[in-house]
């Protein structure tokens, strides 16, 4: 009996010792943050800028001592803007993942984070449905968060801008055939319908299309006085170039992708004057933004950020996550989610200051009052009007009601 007891004691001691050792090793382990984005292909300028923004924030946090006494490491995976590759990326063992520049990839991948109870931050992709797939009460908890201006916000802003500020009345909607383009088109239609308006025509195009003649001629024949776009850089450039070819030029107002360098560079003079909502324009209107732009330029040795919106949102997403991990005191997924849904500290980001950005039912950090309008001018994105510039000098925080 006594012999047995001593054996048990020994076994318990060994067990305790080993768990102590294990947890000791655990404390020193770095915190793995997944970064999923398109680093190749037509939307790479968004993915790469986002990734670089993420890395900048991670480096800053690590220099300041890390989180919970642990360093952060990024696990970067190229999802190639393909839904199925994004799903594979989601099988990585990480504490949380930030990323997604493509709505389709975000929709397809987030399910696996939801099932694994790992918080996932969509910091670029804008499809309205992304944060709404796993809403309670159908699901116990929603693990998908976003700090990008979603398409229903953007579409509403685009329509307000086109109708109220630029006084257009006949809209041709040109959208690509991806999830992004088609969901965005629906949001545009809904926003127009709220004003009792209808587009004069709706046209589709595919990624990689050489020529937009048919779509543009249809818009012209329908008597459009403006074009509302939902697509990505290279094809948007083809629209602007196609209009110049047909000798028919009407203003373009569209989603934030009109700020992509692939649009600005490939459209050249034909792209000047395109107008889009932006959460961030590469102008140092506040000290925080100025510091971010300078740090980014220094770290990556560039002048013009390829996609400033993606870079800023990528950067902010890490700080939001970091605040939640600090508050939770653990990297445990459900605890971090709870912390995100009730963030007690204000997070001073590049886009805005996040004050209680999320609740259990609202996982969107960006509200309609935050973005401003930009215009392509001289190969860069500038503020559309003095009002937009003035608005950008203040930090606009999320409104109480969306």
């Amino acid at each position: 009996m006594s012999r047995n007891a001593s054996w048990t004691a020994l076994a318990v001691a060994t067990l305790l010792g080993s768990t102590a050792l294990a947890s000791g090793a655990f404390a020193a382990d770095p915190i793995k943050i997944g970064v999923s984005g398109p680093f190749t292909g037509g939307s790479a300028s968004m993915g790469v800028s986002m990734r670089d923004g993420v890395k900048l924030a991670v480096d800053e946090i690590n220099k300041a001592g890390g989180l919970l006494g642990r360093q952060l490491v990024t696990v970067e995976r190229d999802d190639e803007a393909k839904n199925e590759v994004g799903v594979q990326v989601s099988k990585e063992h990480v504490v949380a993942t930030v990323g997604f520049a493509n709505t389709g990839v975000a929709l397809a991948s987030t399910r696996f984070y939801e099932e694994a109870e790992i918080p996932v931050f969509d910091n670029v992709a804008t499809g309205t449905a992304v944060t709404k797939q796993f809403l309670p009460p159908d699901y116990e908890n929603n693990y998908v968060f976003r700090n990008a201006a979603n398409d229903s916000i953007q579409a509403g802003m685009i329509v307000d801008q086109a109708v109220d500020k630029q006084h257009f009345s006949k809209f041709a909607i040109l959208a690509d055939s991806t999830n992004y383009g088609q969901l965005g088109r629906q949001d545009l239609e809904a926003a127009l319908a709220k004003k009792n308006l209808k587009p004069v025509t709706e046209e589709k195009f595919n990624i990689g299309d050489v020529d937009m003649t048919a779509q543009l001629l249809k818009a012209k024949a329908a008597g459009a006085d403006s074009i509302l776009t939902y697509g990505i850089g290279p094809e948007l450039a083809q629209i602007a170039n196609g209009m110049s070819k047909l000798g028919w030029k009407v203003p373009i107002v569209g989603s934030w992708t009109l700020s992509m360098s692939t649009f600005i560079d490939n459209a050249g003079a034909n792209g000047e004057g395109a107008v889009m909502p932006e959460t961030f324009i590469q102008v140092g209107t506040t000290p925080k933004r100025k510091a971010f732009i300078e740090a980014y330029q220094k770290a990556y040795n560039i002048d013009r950020i390829s996609s400033p919106v993606s870079a800023a949102q990528g950067y902010d997403s890490v700080y939001l996550l970091a605040a939640a991990i600090t508050q939770a005191g653990t990297t445990d997924g459900p605890k971090v989610r709870e912390a995100l849904e009730d963030l007690k500290t204000k997070v001073d980001g590049v886009v805005t200051t996040y004050d209680h950005p999320f609740t259990t039912t609202d996982h969107e950090a960006i509200s309609k009052n935050i973005p401003v309008f930009g215009i392509v001018k001289g190969g860069r994105v500038a503020f559309w009007s003095k009002d937009d510039e003035a608005a950008a000098t203040q930090v606009r925080v999320k409104g109480a009601v969306n």
Binding site: K204, N206, V210, D211, L217, K218, A237, D265
Partner: protein
């Protein structure tokens, strides 16, 4: 009427691009009964190499170097991918090999030229020219003229020169040509080189009309494949007609039916041709004697 004419003109420009790439498929099929499924990537590499060189040399002097590069690239594809599988008498090895090489070239291009789509400076003015109310870009005219000239040059070479006759002989009957003292494996290498060179030239022709980047070849290569099947893999005239049909039908469908269905009629035509005239609209049906 003006709209119809405009659609047809734009369709012709796009169609001729498809036709040139499809012509490249034919060149290798004629000599070796194999195709380079990396043809789109050959076009992409031509466009990107051309883009880099044009900054130093200008468009005119860049062109011969791009042709040389295309010849070299095609020879590499044949040497690494096709020859091995033909030697091993593998029926399908070359399919996988040329697809794999295409992926390798695409990744290579992403590493060299980056992932963003780039602007190819146009050698001709970018102001459209108007012709009875139909607008076209000077570069679109150049694509049509350039494509026709290139196909004509290759045909003339095949018919008039002694080397070309070796190519024709090898495509007529490879074994007999070999017995007549023609180095058929060299002819096959050459046909691959020529095929990639035409694709590379197509790349620099289409470059000023479309953002160029590592992924630009995929869609074009696929559509050109459809054109090659529709027109027939043995008829040079067939690919021109096939290209024009596909290009024009795309534009007409986009306008008169729905731009979302742009690509459907072309693919339907492909299915119809495969079902009723498998050798293509202009292809010669040959009975394979076993």
């Amino acid at each position: 009427m003006e709209i119809l004419a405009q659609l047809v003109v734009s369709g012709i420009a796009v169609g001729m691009i498809y036709a040139v790439i499809a012509f490249g498929y034919q060149l290798t099929f004629a000599t070796s009964r194999t195709l380079n499924f990396g043809q789109g990537e050959a076009l992409m590499l031509g466009a990107l190499v051309g883009l880099s060189l044009t900054q130093w040399l200008g468009f005119v002097f860049m062109l011969p170097l791009v042709i040389l590069f295309g010849l070299f690239q095609g020879a590499v594809v044949e040497w690494l991918g096709v020859r091995q599988s033909m030697r091993a008498k593998s029926e399908f090895g070359w399919i996988m090999a040329t697809i794999a090489l295409g992926i390798i070239f695409r990744n290579l291009a992403e590493n060299i030229w980056g992932r963003d789509e780039l602007k190819f400076p146009s050698p001709l003015p970018e102001e459209p020219i108007s012709f009875f109310g139909v607008n076209m870009l000077p570069m679109e005219v150049a694509v049509v003229v350039g494509a026709l000239a290139m196909m004509l040059a290759v045909e003339l070479f095949n018919r008039r020169s002694i080397y070309g006759k070796a190519v024709v002989a090898a495509s007529a009957d490879r074994d007999a040509a070999g017995l007549m003292g023609i180095n058929t494996s060299l002819v096959i290498t050459f046909s691959y080189a020529l095929s990639s060179a035409t694709a590379a030239v197509a790349g620099v022709l289409v470059g000023p009309l479309k953002p160029v980047g590592a992924t630009m070849g995929a869609v074009l290569g696929l559509k050109a494949f459809a054109v090659a099947i529709i027109g027939g893999l043995s008829s040079g005239f067939g690919v021109i007609v096939g290209g024009l049909i596909l290009g024009i039908v795309e534009k007409l469908t986009g306008f008169y039916i729905d731009s979302g269905y742009q690509d459907v009629p072309g693919l339907l035509l492909l299915l119809l041709v495969l079902a009723f005239k498998p050798a293509g609209l202009f292809g010669k049906t040959a009975i394979k004697k076993v």
